[in-house]
Amino acid sequence: MKIIACYKWVLDEADLKVEAQSRRLLTGRAKSKISEYDRNALECGVQLIDESGGEVIALTAGTGGAKSSLKDALSRGPAEAVFVKDEIMAQSDPAVTAKVLAAAVRHIGEYDLILCGEGSSDEYSEQVGIRLAQLLGIPVVSFVNKVQVADGVLRAERKLDGGIEVVQVQLPAVVTVLPDMNTPRIPSLKQILAAAKKPVKELNLAGLGLDQAQLTAKVRRQTVLGTVMERKGIRFRGEAREVVQQVLTVLNKEGLC
């Protein structure tokens, strides 16, 4: 089985600081990381290969900075990586990202399964996997927390608000995964060192037959501001019955009940 696991190289939210007055995000000292749910997608691919053989190709599209992600991704089990590098990805929206990934997938050629995280750690638009499937003309299964593959058929459990839905789909297909699907492995030192020896294919937009005009993001990010949770610090005192009443009054005033 040939699996393509897509991932995004994002700023580590743990390193982000919010400027107190303007609420502007301070990203100067933030490191980057593989987006959380995409780590689950990579792990899912590697586990499927461990069970039934084949190979996982890690695929990412990003600016030059995303080059730092390749060894990280490869240390997690994929046999090779494909990196579409273009500065346009800094202004990308989900539609543009999906177009670039679809072109890269076509460039890779044959495949059985494409795995994506349900959403990225930074913007969490939950669109790329679905758009990618539409562009490739193949089925997509979203909100997946369990998969099995047998005889070219994928059986997936979708974790939805109302319960678990079990679906079957003929491969090839795109699957977008949830974080409770697995625990991404911590790579061993040998796996980290071996990652440097794995092949990486670097592509550019021209090489994929894409031009800038096709890749103008329709969504423009105006500002990104941090949210600040302000606590009201209200204390309730008295008998339990009175306190409950006081709490209800306050919640009512806030329009919360």
Partner: protein
């Protein structure tokens, strides 16, 4: 000059940090409280190649360098100094001398199992009457036919009782002083080899520290490590490398204490504002961070020298004395920042303070490190 870690080193740091946070930190306080050796963590350490970091792939190691080893020890010690010293004693004290001085057959017999973490190693030099003055050892080894017969005792042996393989020094010709000391590989279970009770220590309580007893302990003739009379040299060379591990451990303890202090200072409100807004707290944090950064450069520099085949005796001694004393100062300040809560087991800083002290003592006291440094300057 380049102050950035390589991609591989950064990935290794991130991997060990994640492992430490998710699998070691949750048991750190408990193993300390119960004086419990965390046996369950050893298979995971082996799986992640953390028990053979600086040894080549061919002998079962990770094939990384000493700087990577120092980074890994730092990250482990940041959450658990006991786990860090288990790894450090196994790697730089127990396994390194076999890597550096073992015969091909000794390497074949022991190295793969040790470097891959299937077995644990320890190093036994210190004796009741021979601490800093290691040459005053009374344990003897006498060749009888095809066997060495060891008699005597060792004390304060890290990984004692849990290690499978021990590198043990003994006098083969006491009249020659340090030149009459030899090193041996002794397996757990050798006839006449036994362990005493675990020491009840002030800190690093999750690690095992025991005496070793040799009572007509018979080991094969080919258990001699290196040449006869080379034991003191092997021990001193081993300790040079070991000091980098302990310096890295101290660095991690300091960083962990500062992490906790910064978190607490931002959360703890007194006089209507977080105590982080008080200059008294800010200065303690600033001084601690500055000392830690200086310690880190010393530790990484000593490891870098070793990786590049340069002399590192002085650098390792400088790293150890500075990092260990930094750990004690920073942990002390971290307790101070926490106030009364810092003096309880509810916060990790009291453990850090207890753990830090030993780094000023073992693998050469601070006084010995200063002797070593001065010795290289005033020679």
């Amino acid at each position: 000059m380049d102050f950035e870690l390589s991609e591989e080193e950064s990935l290794l740091q991130a991997a060990v940090r994640e492992f430490a946070q998710t699998e070691v930190a949750p048991i750190a306080a408990e193993i300390d409280r119960n004086h419990r050796f965390p046996e369950e963590i050893l298979p995971r350490l082996a799986e992640l190649n953390l028990l053979g970091i600086p040894f080549p792939d061919e002998v079962g190691g990770a094939g990384a360098d000493y700087l990577s080893y120092a980074i890994a020890i730092e990250e482990l010690a940041r959450v658990c100094a006991s786990t860090a010293v288990i790894v450090s004693a196994h790697t730089s004290l127990g396994t390194s001398p076999i890597m550096d001085y073992g015969t091909p057959s000794q390497k074949e017999k022991y190295l793969h199992d040790l470097a891959s973490g299937q077995k644990l190693a320890a190093f036994a030099l210190t004796e009741p009457g021979a601490g800093t003055d290691a040459s005053a050892g009374k344990t003897t080894a006498v060749l009888e036919g095809e066997e060495w017969v060891l008699n005597g005792s060792k004390i304060f042996i890290t990984n004692g009782g849990y290690a499978d393989v021990y590198v043990v020094t003994a006098m083969t010709d006491p009249a020659k002083g340090t030149k009459g000391m030899s090193a041996f590989i002794v397996e757990k279970g050798a006839p006449g080899f036994s362990f005493g009770e675990k020491e009840h220590k002030m800190g690093i309580k999750g690690s095992s520290t025991t005496p070793l007893y040799f009572n007509n302990c018979r080991i094969p003739r080919d258990a001699l490590l290196g040449a006869e009379g080379q034991g003191f040299k092997i021990a001193m060379h081993t300790l040079d490398g070991g000091r980098i591990g302990i310096a890295a451990q101290a660095l991690g303890i300091a960083q962990g204490a500062l992490d906790a202090a910064v978190k607490y200072a931002k959360e703890r409100v007194q006089f209507g504002k977080p105590i982080a807004a008080q200059q008294a707290i800010q200065w303690m944090v600033a001084d601690s961070a500055t000392e830690i950064e200086a310690a880190r450069f010393l530790v990484y520099r000593a490891a870098w020298n070793k990786d590049h085949g340069l002399s590192y005796t002085k650098e390792a001694a400088m790293a150890k004395v500075f990092a260990s004393e930094t750990a004690s100062r920073v942990a002390g300040k971290a307790v101070q920042i926490h106030g009364g809560y810092g003096y309880t087991e509810n916060y990790p800083v009291e453990r850090a303070l207890r753990d830090a002290k030993i780094t000023e003592i073992y693998e050469g006291t601070s006084e010995v490190q200063r002797m070593v440094i001065a010795g290289t300057l005033l020679r």
